[in-house]
């Protein structure tokens, strides 16, 4: 995203094009240049805390007046609440509502991190597998544990497709089992991959802007990609959340 950096690179080496599309994903310490230990405050910390601040502003500060006739910000907060609540209720039914704060946390974090990542020169935390894999694993483990706690061994019925012919069931069970364990992988890579790819593409277009003749096209392309990425930011958060709801439904009602 950092267009200035590209311009600087372009000035240094005006003859040759320089692309560093992946530099925007480097994790840097906030203070000094030392090694990155697990506790070091880094740009990850900064942008995650900004996400917390954004969520706090949107859901807590805007609703502080508890107005019957909502202000604009309050109605956005209410929309977000209603959106996720309805999604969870539609998919999981009444029992799923218990897990609403959990699902809402995931959605709000991802959507805010994605949109903060759209700010030029920002760091996009959700573009890292190190972030999305724990998110997906948390969902996977929650669903698996919850499934066994709620249903006991009956949870394994999820893999035994009783509506299929008996001969096919073992084959389907293997397929179901594989697809079950692939879930966290696809769940996490979908999010990080989409966000990373979009940001990298924008950066590549920004690299082309160093050439005067191409730069108008490049700027247009960046604009178009940016619009697409705004869409992707929301859609990926939505997809992650709706899949979480679907997986949660499997845990609550394992029968097909």
């Amino acid at each position: 995203m950092a267009t200035e950096t590209t311009a600087a690179h372009g000035a240094e080496e005006s003859s040759s094009l320089v692309f560093h599309p992946m530099d925007q994903f480097i994790v840097k310490p906030l203070f000094g240049d030392g090694a990155i230990a697990w506790y070091t405050p880094t740009n990850v910390t900064l942008w995650m805390f900004l996400a917390i601040a954004a969520i706090f502003a949107l859901l807590v500060l805007s609703t502080s007046k508890r107005a019957i006739v909502p202000t604009r910000m309050q109605s956005v907060a209410e929309l977000a609440y209603g959106f996720i609540y309805k999604m969870l209720e539609d998919i999981c039914g009444k029992e799923g509502v218990k897990y609403f704060p959990y699902v809402m946390t995931l959605f709000m974090f991802i959507v805010c991190a994605n949109f903060l990542g759209m700010i030029p020169t920002s760091f996009t935390t959700t573009s890292h597998f190190a972030v999305t894999i724990p998110l997906a694993l948390a969902v996977f483990l929650t669903v698996t544990i919850l499934g066994f706690v709620k249903n006991g061994a009956a949870f394994l019925g999820l893999f035994w497709v009783s509506s299929a012919p008996l001969a096919l069931r073992p084959v389907l069970a293997i397929i179901e089992l594989i697809s079950y364990f692939v879930r966290p992988v696809s769940h996490s890579i979908r999010l990080a991959g989409n966000v990373m790819a979009g940001h990298a593409v924008i950066k590549v277009f920004a690299g082309f802007a160093a050439i005067a003749v191409i730069s108008p096209v490049s700027v247009l392309a960046i604009t178009a990609m940016y619009g697409l990425e705004v869409l992707v930011s929301f859609i990926q958060a939505y997809v992650f959340t709706i899949l979480t709801c679907v997986y949660l439904k499997d845990a609550l009602h394992p029968s097909h």
Partner: protein, 183 residues
């Protein structure tokens, strides 16, 4: 991903001398603990903020709004019922007033009719009296006229008899005139 940069990343060098990323920074496992640590902190904070403050508050706001809307709807329903009642009362009053007006008009008409009948009867009686009186007067006049005619006829007859050289016999003339005028 080529395997070579990955090997370097595993060795702990994710950034080259120029400060650029080697391969995908997403696969730099040196940075994983840091990111996971801060992610966990972030999620816990967000979860606490949402579950303790934000979500109950928004739920309360929505419930309160729903309550207000329900109350307002009920109040509106009440008012509507009242309006319907008032309209009925108005219509009833209107119908009453109309029947009352009709009754009064009928009474007045009856009164007028009876007065009129009296007046007509009285006028008829007067007219009859006047007519009888007139008839009597006419009969008198006619009788008077008949008598006059007889007198004139007798006188004329006596004169004629005298003028023709006869002897006027009063009794003969009288009987002759009476006989003539009777017819």
């Amino acid at each position: 991903m080529a395997t070579e940069p990955l090997a370097k990343e595993v060795a702990g060098t994710c950034v080259d001398a120029g400060g650029s990323a080697i391969g995908m920074p997403q696969l730099c496992f040196d940075w994983f603990p840091n990111q996971i640590f801060w992610l966990v902190i972030t999620l816990v904070v967000i979860f606490l903020v949402l579950s303790r403050v934000a979500l109950p508050r928004i739920a309360a706001i929505l419930a309160e709004r729903q309550g207000t809307i329900t109350n307002d709807l009920a109040a509106a329903e009440d008012l509507k019922a009242k309006a319907v009642e008032a309209e009925e009362a108005y219509n009833k009053a209107l119908a009453d007033a109309r029947s009352e007006a009709q009754r009064i008009a009928a009474e007045a008409r009856a009164e007028i009719q009876s007065g009129l009948d009296d007046a007509i009867a009285k006028a008829d009686a007067e007219i009859a009296a006047k007519a009888a009186e007139s008839e009597k007067a006419i009969a008198d006049i006619r009788a008077g006229a008949l008598e006059g005619i007889q007198v004139v006829a007798k006188d004329t007859a006596a004169e004629l008899v005298t003028a023709l050289g006869g002897e006027a016999d009063a009794a003969a003339i009288n009987s002759a005139v009476d006989a003539q005028t009777k017819g």
